[in-house]
Point group: C2
Chain length 239, copies 2
DNA sequence: CGAAAGGTTTGATCTGGATCAAATCGCGGC
DNA sequence: GCCGCGATTTGATCCAGATCAAACCTTTCG
């Protein structure tokens, strides 16, 4: 049993599905009442601090989870320490890799987060028994694949300025409270994490952010809080 | 009806599944005899020349296909013409994007290829009716997602030399005839396509290839034919 | 409050890969 | 066999983003 797993089953609280954020999410939205009850009996809600690892790269995964609150980053690290963030997940996404025992990436809480953890074996059985659940997870996988490929275009072909604008656009789009044209949100990532998502250095990220600020495209209320007066402008810059 | 679609149904030949390369592939391997027969009745085998488009970016997709022979590249292009290859697919992979009407990328034959084309509606129905098929496509989607994320690491964090070595390793690994340590294969991509896969320019690709040749890591028998005497060496360089 | 420690910004300089330019190769057509 | 044309290689130069270095904020904690 890996460390994270044992932590989970000491730190969790019992699950109440009825008022849950993820009740109609990818996993739970596809289950019958009976299945939901069974899954609930074996699930625990758990708080994870920003920076805490949920799944370690290379580790065997004995559980899956749903994100209830917060942002989770998916990372790959090379033996020499170079690092790339390969995805961000938001509530109520499902976190895990069905059909494969060993994770090829790590999942870490980017912000303080809450997750609902359940045993891998149980969900695997439910996937096999429930076409609707398989379909729902298949759908999430395909959406993540589209997002990954879109990001490959960003990594391979966009300039530093376009990359930073793309990231701000991505996050603004996933942060809830926004009007049609303006947005106002907290960055779930530090400058170092942004650099690791964009394939840049922190210095370049910082410089591009101040350039966008000086041009009036964004306001930096604090290093973690951004206001975008005109999302169309931002989108135009991200090309 | 889009152009590619109408072409398909004029250029194809009837399908004989029994001797098919993809009989046990992602789609057909998951079907009952009866379903296979039905799918076969509505499928056509089609030859596509290198460079021909199978699905256009932004187009509505009215069909899916299986790759029987050859290599297919998945591309994204930006309005200003910048281009990124976001995936390579080999026989007997499935090509298509279930659950979504409009393709966010284009699929083009990288080499002369043969594909087996079938109507979208029919396969969508079979997916809904056949958990085993859903599972099989889900599995392919997750494998493609893993590959996409691995490539994000390459695009974001590897040097030009490591990128080229990674590409050669990827292709060598998917080309069949190889001993344990050496490999000998045709490149399915031009220098320009390699550049678009790696987020580099053709000049840089060319220079890195000659560097690898001068170091004895590869032999360039012709611009499209490569020999790798020691795959471990190549893998080490790709980091 | 003041000191220590991260995280972030800003500045100066360097460099890997891009860009611009020109051979050279390879191949199909005549 | 020779010509023409696209693909590839090679060379010279440039520049976007990396690296090295040094402030400058925040937050925390004694």
């Amino acid at each position: 049993m890996d460390v994270a797993h044992s932590e989970v089953f000491h730190a969790g609280t019992p699950v109440a599905c009825s008022s849950c954020q993820a009740r109609h999410g990818v996993v739970c939205g596809a289950l019958s009442d009976h299945q939901l009850k069974e899954l609930g009996r074996h699930s625990l809600r758990r708080k994870v601090d920003a920076g805490a690892e949920i799944i370690a790269q290379g580790a065997e995964t004995s559980f899956y989870s749903n994100i209830m609150r917060g942002v989770v980053k998916l990372c790959k690290v090379m033996p020499d320490g170079r690092q790339q963030i390969v995805g961000l997940q938001f509530a109520p996404d499902f976190v895990g890799r069905p059909f494969v025992r060993e994770s090829t990436l790590s999942a870490e809480a980017a912000t303080d987060a809450e997750i609902c953890v359940f045993p891998r074996n149980l969900l695997d059985r439910m996937i096999a028994e429930t076409p609707e659940l398989q379909r729902s997870l298949h759908d999430q996988a395909l959406n993540e694949l589209d997002a990954a490929r879109e990001w490959m275009l960003t990594l391979g072909r966009r300039t530093a300025e376009e990359k930073v604008a793309s990231l701000l656009h991505l996050i603004a789009t996933h942060a809830e409270p926004q009007t049609a044209i303006s947005a106002d949100f907290d960055l779930p990532l530090s400058r170092a994490e942004i650099a690791d998502f964009l394939g840049l250095t922190i210095e370049t990220v910082s410089r591009q952010m101040t350039r966008l600020r000086k041009r009036g495209v964004i306001l930096i209320e604090s290093s973690r809080h951004i206001v975008v007066p005109d999302m169309n402008e931002l989108e135009k810059i991200s090309a």
